[in-house]
């Protein structure tokens, strides 16, 4: 390699490495501010690194798993409430409206709304998160023991199916 080419090679590499470093530092400092949502334990205990807790009345997103058996539907309206958890603390979410198809107990969901008290959120949007595993119903039943019956959480109020 001739000297001029070598010089260009080093210059280019230096530029790439330097620029990556800058972007890396920016993203690192942005850190958890770039998270889409809080987890329930972050709302109760604060963010891992900064310890910042959301204030009551703040608009935020929460993401967690719907606690089994916690979904309560109002018989007369579209009001629904359910509990979310990740590793420990539980946050109760209330919502009025139609839930996404994938919403079910044990499912990961993301809700956007306002914190009404330390562990309660009034949501105006509920999104369902799904994981990266894909399999056919037969295999899911064999492997996970999941018998997929849609909206089995409505068992508590039998008249919803009629």
């Amino acid at each position: 390699m001739n000297p001029r080419r070598k010089q260009r090679l080093y210059l280019t590499l230096l530029g790439v490495v330097g620029f990556s470093l800058i972007i890396g530092l920016i993203l690192y400092s942005a850190g958890q501010n770039m998270d889409l949502f809080y987890t329930p334990s972050e709302i109760v205990n604060g963010k891992n690194e900064t310890g910042i807790k959301p204030k009551v009345g703040e608009r935020l997103r929460i993401g967690g798993l719907v606690v089994e058996g916690s979904v309560r539907r109002d018989e007369e309206s579209l009001d629904v409430s359910f509990d979310l958890m990740d590793s420990g603390p539980i946050i109760t979410v209330t919502y009025t409206g139609i839930l996404p198809d994938l919403f079910r107990e044990g499912q990961g969901i993301i809700a956007q709304g306002h914190l009404t008290s330390a562990n309660e959120i009034k949501a105006f949007e509920v999104l369902a998160k799904h994981d990266e595993e894909y399999m056919s119903p037969e295999v899911a039943e064999a492997v996970k023991g999941i018998k997929h019956v849609k909206s089995d959480y409505s068992k508590t109020s039998d008249n919803t199916k009629g």
Binding site: L27, L127, D131, E132, M135, P137, V139
Partner: protein, 250 residues
């Protein structure tokens, strides 16, 4: 050591190479895409949670992966163009950029169509979706920058630098689902070890991914030929080829 590569840096040789390769790429691409799509869309099993909607994966994932693949190819070309100052690799960046735009658009649109029934929303500003949108803007920026210069030598150099700078977005897109909380799920295909997907769904997906790869190669060759002709249209070899008539024209 690399002497055997040198002839291909010449416009005429590169043009002929592209012409010779592109039909093969085209045939392989067609075979893979047709088989993979028919298998995936008609015969692969539905998902235990998402039902039939999961079939969007056979278009969405290949397009997304190759939208980044196209950019990776452009980054390598940009690096070569800057260090070894080879004109052909500058042309290659411009040849591939519109294909990248196409793949990115397909990825974003099918993603939105998938997100609406499954997540409950067309769009959410999470790290994965946002970084993929930025990729689209970078592609558009590359084309705009190239066309902004009258002198195509300067344009090629500027575009190479811009492409190299924009490549920082690739690892961000890939790791966005790992580094931050996102609505988008984690990686399925490129996960370390076994892909978390049933084999009867994995094979058609893999075929379509490779098929999209060959689509990129095919379109890349065809567009590369066009770019070479556009840039070299006053050169003797192009004139000679045109004069000789239809037996040479592809």
């Amino acid at each position: 050591m690399w002497k055997w590569l040198h002839p291909w840096a010449k416009a005429e040789k590169a043009y002929q190479l592209c012409g010779r390769l592109s039909p093969w790429f085209g045939i392989i691409c067609l075979g893979l895409l047709v088989t993979g799509s028919v298998w995936g869309l008609l015969f692969a099993p539905p998902d235990y949670q998402q039902g039939e909607s999961v079939r969007i994966i056979y278009i969405h994932v290949p397009a997304s992966i190759l939208s980044m693949g196209a950019y990776a190819a452009m980054t390598i070309a940009a690096f070569i163009a800057l260090v070894w100052q080879i004109k052909m690799s500058e042309l290659y960046i411009i040849a591939v950029a519109p294909i990248g735009i196409g793949f990115t658009l397909i990825a974003l649109l099918t993603g939105a169509a998938w997100g609406k029934p499954m997540w409950g929303t067309w769009w959410v500003w999470d790290a994965r979706l946002t970084s993929e949108l930025i990729l689209l803007f970078i592609y558009i920026g590359i084309l705009a920058l190239y066309n902004a210069f009258e002198d195509k030598n300067t344009a090629g150099k500027a575009v190479s630098i811009f492409t190299l700078v924009g490549s920082i977005n690739l690892p961000i897109i890939h790791y966005s689902v790992v580094w931050w909380n996102t609505l988008h799920q984690g990686a399925t295909v490129s996960k370390m070890g076994k892909p978390s997907m049933e084999m009867s769904m994995y094979w058609p997906l893999l075929m379509n991914i490779i098929g999209f790869g060959f689509l990129l190669a095919y379109l890349g060759c065809v567009r590369m030929q066009n770019q070479i002709l556009l840039r070299e249209k006053h050169r003797p070899w192009v004139k000679k080829m045109v004069m000789e008539g239809d037996n040479h024209a592809v």
